[in-house]
Structure formats: structure tokens, C-alpha cells
Amino acid sequence: MEPSSNIIEVNDLRTSFFTEEAEVKAVDGVSFSVPSGKTLGIVGESGSGKSITSLSIMRLIQEPGQIVGGEINFKSDNLLDKSESEMRRIRGNEISMIFQEPMTSLNPVFTVGDQISEAYRIHQGLSKKQALQKSLEMLELVGIPSPKDRLKRYPHELSGGMRQRVMIAIALACKPELLIADEPTTALDVTIQAQILRLINNLQDELGMSVVLITHDLGVVAETCDYVAVMYAGKIVEYADVQTLFESPKHPYTVGLLSSLPRHDIDQEELQVIKGMVPSPTNMPEGCRFAPRCPFATDLCKEQLPTLDDLEDGNQVRCWVYSDKWDGDPEVNVKDDYGTATSS
């Protein structure tokens, strides 16, 4: 990957929440990049830090949270060095974001037209009339029927799917170069999810933007993403192109996640599970964070945190199995042996 072809590069990002008792490291040294025009999926379960990562890119972390370190290079500028007013010019203009809950993400006391127009008025200095005209075009673009009428409507008068389309219209109003979509379809029904994913995909092609898609749904990842970063307990454990990730997952957590997923398209025997649960953020394991749940874990895993290492195919994995220091069974194949290792 050429550095210049990446729209955004995140290096060693660390975001913590400070409570009276402790510092909770929600995002702990996350690095990834998004190639221009491509879609990166960040997958993980609740508490993995995927949403905090996306809010950190926008610099929208609220008290008591704080970005404590790292770099976010967007078009060769570090966003963490920007002033608040410089950041405001980027938000909603060059980088936009849509959120999980379309029902609550729109302001109930303003019309749809007002809310889309605001983006044009802030970033392009348009008059009220011009902004409304542009908003109308945007509503057409996101496929809202009778857009002229909807412009004057309040959010509660629209369905969930329609509201998410309005959110997309707001986000894409100023034709951003990067769209961050945080679980954009999780709250929607599957038939509506299909509409929204297709819409995002089409608009991405049309506007040539890059997308970071935060999701817990591996199906959505497989269908929409080019690259995938798997997060676990505040760290990326695997980064791969989507083909490789699903065909030959490397990290035991990725393997476990894929095999514990009930699928509607094939028959499965008993689901393979990942035993135990996600570690508490205030009490992280010393070594590899997945070690307490990993069927392959050795003493090395329990004592030392593995680094995110490059593999031959350009992908990355954070696991001792793939390093020279591996002290377990040298013949082990994480993907093939996961089932037997878990049940034993």
C-alpha cells in the first residue's frame, strides 16, 4: 500500500475514559488505514472500542473521555493537532458520520429541510433558499419519495428507514471524502437494511468517497467492505482484505467469531462457542487480551502482549502463533483446529 493512496491513517490511537477510580482504556493503541475510495469495516462486539475509535476520528469524544495519544492523519494532516474551529470545518464537510439510532439521531423540533440545510449554511455559506434547494436535491439522491413534501416534515413523521436516509443526506450534503458509518443499519429491519446498504454503496461509487463501517454484523462486512479490522478489548487483533478474512481467518478470536455465528444460508451442527466473556476494561489481562478465552493460549500468551505483525500477504495479525517466539504446538492451524481445541 502506498502511503499517499490512503485517505486516512490512524497510528497508535489511544482514547481513555477517566473515572474516579481508574483510567479505562477504551481504545488502546489502534492503528489502521483506509485506502482511498475503499470501505474498511471495523468489527467487534460491544466494548471492543470500535465506536470510540470512530468518535475519536471525528474528535467528538465527550467528558470524561479523552484522546490521550496517537495520530490521525487525514490527507497528510494530523487531526489531533487541529484546533477546535479547524475541526469544525472538517466535520460534516470533509469527514461525515452517521449513527446507529435513526429514531433519536435527528432533532425532533426542526424540520428535515432545516437539518439538512444547516450543513450547507455552515460549510458553504449558502442562503436559506439556496440551502433548501440543495437539500431537496439531496433528498432525491437518497431516494426519499415526494422529497419536496418531506422537506417540511418533522423527524417523527418519518419511518426508521426514511430517517436513516435523511441522516445520510445530512452526512453526504457537502460531499465528504470520508464517511464514518457507526452501525448504520443495526436498528433497522433486514429489508430496510438492504436498502440502506445498497444506497451507501451506490453513493460511494457516485461520489468517490471512502467509508469506515463500524458494525458487529459479519454478514454486513462480507457484503460491503473491502478491508476488515477486527477489534477486541480496545485493540485490533486482525486486519485483512475481506476475502482473506473470511476464507482463512488467522486470529483465534476471528475464527471463534465466525464459527459462533448462526447462519441462515447453510446448515450447522452445534455452534462453536467462544467460552467465557469479554474482560472488564478496568481489569485487562496482562498478556494477550484474548488469552483467557483462547483455546490455544500458552504461558507466553498469558504473560506477553503480542504485537500486530505483518504477514506475507500484507495482512496483519496480533497473535503469538504466527511469530518466531511461539511456544505451543508448531503444527497448529488455528482455523482447522479451533473446534477440537475448544471442545477439549
Binding site: 433519536t104 439521531s105 432533532n107 425532533p108
Partner: protein
């Protein structure tokens, strides 16, 4: 919306009837013979009998109530015993004074309360926030007649003498009574605004506004405050309604000739038609204010229109 207004109007009808019944019964519930009381202790039996006839007290209670209602419909609340003037005229001349007093006090409450509440919420857990909330607690706990007396002591009497001690009419006259009456309301509204703002500021749509690149002040005053004020409107309305009937002490302290003093004076002089009329007017105003609050709440809160 129209259906809602009509339904709300229908709902006020029983309330209004209830009010008229209570006010009507007032004269019958006081101990002793109303005719005797009105005619005075020194009156002879014949005079009392005459008074009873004049008041129609010998008729059946229902007949009396019907007559009472009929009179109200024609804005006839009887005549004052002391002055002999129609009660409606007596109330009319005093009403605007009280209305002005209540109105400006509420305005002051809104102004101070909302600004203080917003500052408190945006600077939460800072020294400023704590100070505002402590002051608000004081404002809430202080009896207003005491506050009035203190204000007179420091600002109306020598050495400062900035404002007149009593009376009503000019802006100088208004300042101290309005502060006296508005302080508690400002405190209530400040606390209400603060908690409402804190709730709203964590909503998803506030995050959306920030993600859009909206300035923090605009996030606060446009996106958040508009939503946070919806519950505050109810408090403001009730505040105003309460003040219309709750100016008695303040009017007494500042010798203002408003409704409150009219009631007090009339009670002392046993001028029952006046007392009855004033209570009725205040109660009906309260019902009206409540009605308007409900309508405006409905109007502001677009979401509940769907139910």
C-alpha cells in the same frame, strides 16, 4: 391539533363548574348566618330578614346556584357591600395592577432562570455551576415577604433610596415588587432548565449536530435549548397562574392596590361579594392559563402530536 384544542376545551368545562360551585358554596359554608354577617352585627332582625330576601337566601340552594350562574354569565357579580359599586368594576380596576405585577415577575423569572440554568448546565460540576445552584436554593427557600422587606430596607430607605417604598405606576415602583415576586420563580426555572439541558445534551441528535460541524454555542442555544425548554414552558405557565393569585403578601408589603389587597381588605371588611368575585376570577384565570400551557406544550412538542 384542532381536535386536541376542542377536547381540551371540553375538559375544562367540568373544572369551571366545580369552581363556580365551590365559590357559590363559600358564602354558605362560613359559620353563622350570611345575611347576619353581611348586614352587620348591629342590624335588627328585620334588617337581617330584609338582607336575606335581597340575597335570595330563602330559596332552594339549587335555585340560588342557578341564579348565581346566570348572573356570572352576564358578568354580574353583585355589588360591594362597602362601596355599593358593582363587584366587576371593583375587580376590573385592580386586576391590571396585579396582572402587570405577575407578568413582569414571570418575565424576570424566565430571563434569569433560563440564562442561569443554561450556564449551570454547560459548566456543570464547576464552581460557577455550584454557586448558581446554591443561590437558586436560597431564592427558593426565602419567604417573599421577607425578601420584600429586605429590599425595602436596603434599596428604598435611606441612605440609598433608589426606589420608592410603596405604590404602583411607574417603572421605579415596579422594580422591587417584581424582584420580590420573581426570585422564587427564577430559582425554580433555573433548576428545571439545568436538569432539562443536562438530559438533552446527551441525546443522539446533539451528537449529530456536532458531527455536522455546528459551533458549540449554536449546539447549546439552538439544538439543545429548543428541546430543553419544552418542559420548562409548563413550569413557567403554572408560575404565572400561581402569581396571579399569589401576590397578596407582596402587594401588602409594598402597599400596591391589586387584587391581593382587595381580597384582604374585603375579608377584613366582610365584603363577601367582593371576596367571592375575586376568588372566582382568579380561579378561572388559573384554568385559562393552564389551558394555554397545555396548548403551547402540545405545539412545541411536535412528537406527541401523533398519539
Amino acid at each position: 391539533m384542532l381536535v386536541f384544542v376542542l377536547r381540551r376545551i371540553l375538559q375544562t368545562i367540568p373544572v369551571i363548574f366545580g369552581v363556580t360551585i365551590l365559590v357559590f358554596l363559600m358564602i354558605h359554608l362560613i359559620p353563622g348566618d350570611p345575611a347576619q354577617i353581611i348586614a352587620g352585627e348591629a342590624a335588627s332582625d328585620a334588617q337581617v330578614q330584609q338582607m336575606r330576601d335581597r340575597l335570595g337566601l330563602n330559596d332552594h340552594l339549587l335555585v340560588q346556584y342557578g341564579r348565581f350562574l346566570g348572573d356570572i354569565m352576564q358578568f354580574d357579580l353583585g355589588n360591594s357591600i362597602r362601596s355599593g359599586n358593582p363587584v366587576s368594576a371593583e375587580i376590573g380596576s385592580r386586576f391590571w395592577v396585579t396582572f402587570e405585577l405577575a407578568f413582569f415577575s414571570t418575565l424576570l423569572s424566565i430571563f434569569i432562570g433560563i440564562i442561569a440554568g443554561v450556564i449551570s448546565a454547560t459548566k456543570r460540576h464547576t464552581f460557577l455551576d455550584t454557586s448558581i445552584m446554591v443561590i437558586a436554593l436560597f431564592g427558593l427557600s426565602m419567604p417573599n415577604f421577607w425578601l420584600g422587606l429586605m429590599l425595602i430596607q436596603y434599596f428604598a430607605l435611606p441612605p440609598l433610596q433608589w426606589f420608592p417604598v410603596s405604590g404602583w405606576g411607574s417603572i421605579e415602583h415596579m422594580v422591587l415588587p417584581v424582584i420580590t415576586l420573581g426570585t422564587a420563580g427564577a430559582a425554580i426555572i433555573a433548576r428545571m432548565t439545568r436538569s432539562s439541558m443536562l438530559e438533552v445534551i446527551n441525546q443522539d441528535y446533539i451528537r449529530t449536530a456536532r458531527a455536522k460541524g455546528v459551533k458549540e454555542q449554536i449546539v447549546t442555544y439552538k439544538h439543545a435549548l429548543r428541546n430543553a425548554l419544552i418542559p420548562v414552558v409548563t413550569v413557567v405557565g403554572l408560575q404565572f397562574g400561581t402569581l396571579l393569585g399569589g401576590t397578596v403578601l407582596t402587594e401588602t408589603v409594598f402597599s400596591i392596590n391589586g387584587l391581593g389587597r382587595l381580597v384582604i381588605d374585603s375579608i377584613n371588611a366582610r365584603d363577601f361579594p367582593i371576596v367571592q368575585g375575586t376568588v372566582l376570577v382568579i380561579a378561572l384565570l388559573f384554568v385559562l392559563v393552564n389551558f394555554l400551557v397545555d396548548i403551547s406544550y402540545r405545539f412545541l412538542n411536535k412528537r406527541i402530536e401523533l398519539d
